[in-house]
Symmetry: C2
Subunit: 304 residues, 2 copies
């Protein structure tokens, strides 16, 4: 375990699990704390930054370089400013069936380096699809880009299957430097969900760094094309927060506390993926897992 | 629209949607009708054929070629016989973060061709992950392998997002030859699910070739490591089916009828993917979709 000042965060998880929603809320909370944040969407779905940009769709890097000559590249064509001055970039995806999505991420990173975009920001957050952890999607973990990795999961088998697979990918690039901060448990309200997620967390030796409830508050904010963090900030400004509901406050506090932990620096853990059989055994409770783990700033949620 | 005798079927869909469960049941039903069937799992999860093999785990092609010299390759090391003499093969996946899953599928197909495996079977069924439709996973659609494509979807946004993405991939390789048979609607019992799936089907101009209810019957069969089709066949043999429950019978009949349609030949449709905005509009009902479509053998389910 090492504690380091972090500045390149990767949020990995399976498609639809809530990566972009959580990423945008974390970016917004970090920005509220005065940090200059860059969020890079690395999912062909290219909607990572929508809640920071009030729903505005921006040109993806892959679309841009397809239609623009290299001499005409301009940073402002692919870098947009969102809530709290968060820098917003979407890598985009290749033509389905033809290109390689992973290759697209590599190309995007090269262009961002050419523009020296990251130098303008204190914290970079990568929002990365983790269904297929081929070489391509592993780019933010390879090449030492990300130094702090969060895995988003619910209690669904496929979500933990994907998270476990990402741990395998991370392990392949670890070289003795631990980079996993822990799990972000995004509830789906399925049966026995707490047990499953905490059993998985214990089995892979990772803290649950935040437990986010399944809540309509996200849909309400999404309909306004904003993050929950922005929603609450607005309500604070408008009438001193008199109309903030308990559930909204609770969710806001989760992101605030997580972002504070990120700024302070969270402990890093080794990637210890399970075998497929172990994973099934843990989730379907055919083996007993030990829920107790050493305390760390990041796993307070496991103690409820 | 063209009607053709089909012999290479690809079942595409997002991870966890039910591809392998449906594939194994379809293979079993085809085998019960006397067809020689080969099922090829093209998902790094490599559990496509588990229900045909009573849970037995077989060596994946990618693992095999990693550990075996080319001169020692033997067909029987990677081809196994399951229920109803269905030939079972798992392509497997690369080391996470390093290799390319798509490349693995290509390698697997080359080995199968070398052994002339497909020639021993009348129908080949590919069970393919469709979360990332990069060049690799599109292999069964490219190179003219599959001539009949089914897309598995539920009413969940991500499931239809993936199905629509697969249609984009198919469109890129269509060359005037239509190859999409339609949707296999695997229910998740989510809100407003029928409306969402049939609206999507209408919008992309595809029939719903089968609607499979969400049912415990699948879990019951899975616990025995068999397909529902095998479960019913066993009950028929044991005591003339006296203990077959209504729901089991219903599910069995769905697979029988689908397999009969496949044997008779189903109509093929053009791939007409939606744009991302159209997809959202259709699913979230911001536009009206027309539910009525011309009758075809395959879309009887849309008429309930
Ligand atoms: N905790 C939650 N409660 C309710 N809805 C959620 C929650 N997390 C995510 N969602 C919703 O799930 C959908 C998918 O989330 P998204 O962040 O786009 O996933 P991903 O980026 O992983 O594909 C969005 O509509 C989002 O509002
Ligand atoms: N219609 C259904 N009703 C209930 N459970 C289902 C149904 N279809 C699939 N399942 C279950 O969902 C899980 C995932 O299915 P699987 O076929 O492995 O998905 P995929 O191959 O698409 O990843 C399995 O446990 C399976 O039994
Ligand atoms: S590296 Fe990943 S994105 Fe690229 S082709 Fe391979 S599987 Fe697809
Ligand atoms: S499996 Fe990965 S590396 Fe291979 S073609 Fe697909 S996205 Fe690219
Ligand atoms: Mg996303
Ligand atoms: Mg499968």
């Amino acid at each position: 375990m090492e504690v380091l000042m972090k500045n390149e965060i990767a949020i990995y998880g399976k498609g639809g699990i809530g990566k972009s929603t959580l990423s945008a809320n974390i970016s917004a909370a970090l920005a509220d704390s005065g940090k200059r944040v860059l969020q890079i969407g690395c999912d062909p779905k290219h909607d990572s930054t929508r809640l920071l940009l009030n729903g505005r769709k921006i040109t993806t890097i892959l679309d841009y370089i397809k239609t623009t000559g290299a001499l005409d590249y301009k940073k402002e064509d692919i870098l947009f400013e969102g809530y709290g001055s968060v820098g917003c970039v979407e890598a985009g995806g290749p033509e389905p069936g033809v290109g390689c999505a992973g290759r697209g991420i590599i190309t995007s990173f090269e262009l961002l380096e050419q523009f020296r975009v990251k130098e303008e920001y204190e914290i970079t957050l990568y929002d990365v699809l983790g269904d297929v952890v081929c070489g391509g999607f592993a780019v933010p973990i390879r090449r030492e880009y990300a130094d702090t990795i969060f895995l988003v999961t619910s209690g669904e088998y496929m979500a933990m299957y994907a998270a476990n697979n990402i741990l395998r990918g991370i392990k392949n690039y670890e070289n003795g430097k631990y980079r996993v901060a822990g799990l972000l448990y995004n509830s789906r309200n399925i049966e026995d969900e707490d047990r499953k997620v905490y059993a998985f967390a214990a089995a892979v030796g990772l803290p649950v760094c935040a437990k986010i409830p399944r809540s309509n508050v996200f849909a309400q904010a999404e309909r306004k094309n904003i993050t929950v963090v922005e929603l609450i900030s607005r309500k604070m400004k408008l009438n001193k927060g008199a109309d903030i509901q308990d559930e909204e406050q609770k969710i806001y506090d989760i992101f605030k506390s997580l972002s504070r932990n990120i700024i302070d620096g969270v402990p890093m853990y080794e990637a210890n993926p399970l075998s497929d059989d172990e994973l099934e055994a843990v989730i379907y409770q055919t083996v007993k897992a030990d829920y107790k783990k050493p305390f760390s700033k990041c796993d307070s949620e496991t103690k409820e």
